[in-house]
Amino acid sequence: TGEIKRFLRDDGMIKVSRTLKENNWKIVQAMQRLQNEKGRDITIQELSEETGLETEDIVMAMEANTEIDSLNKPMNV
């Protein structure tokens, strides 16, 4: 079992995903860069091309972000 997994990872068949935090940092930076360059809202595809991350990883990282956002929100607005 361990062998198959190791084989797949070494082979690049399974992408060893970066941590959400690393992805997040990449995404936030890419978003600012692209937004400045294009002067408009960025699509998920553009972010994927810019960061080299799968759109799935971007959706995941954005979700992690909203959770952090809502934790930072004051409770009595």
Binding site: D41, T43, I44, V59, M60, E63, E67, M75
Partner: protein, 141 residues
Amino acid sequence: MENKNEMQIVFDARSENEGFARMAVAAFISPLNPTIDELADVKTAVSEAVTNCIIHGYQQGPGKIFMECTVSGHSVVIGITDEGVGIINIEQAMEPMFTTKPELERSGMGFAFMEAFMDDVQVFSSPGKGTRVVMKRQIGG
């Protein structure tokens, strides 16, 4: 995407599933290549509708939430339904700031957010039977 793509989800009315519902819709519509803002808008609307089912529909008790999403061309339609207490006066419920649970965060702004973030929001409800919200949004085109 040329033709219609559909999904239906049934899940337990628990606050930990709010993130699941939001992500499931985000993942389902991401082949449309939404912008980051479009994605955030749709997720917020889904969150508000699902929270309403949990808090108001089922009064935080057990129950099932039914969600469907249909994509055709650039149009996204999302239905979110509970079999909870229902709403007596829908028009009043949809007024900004109207709430029957004033102790909650963002009180009374759920429907206002759904209407702000989606192109169209319709609410159907029968007291004692449940509530259904259908929201539409044009994405990426």
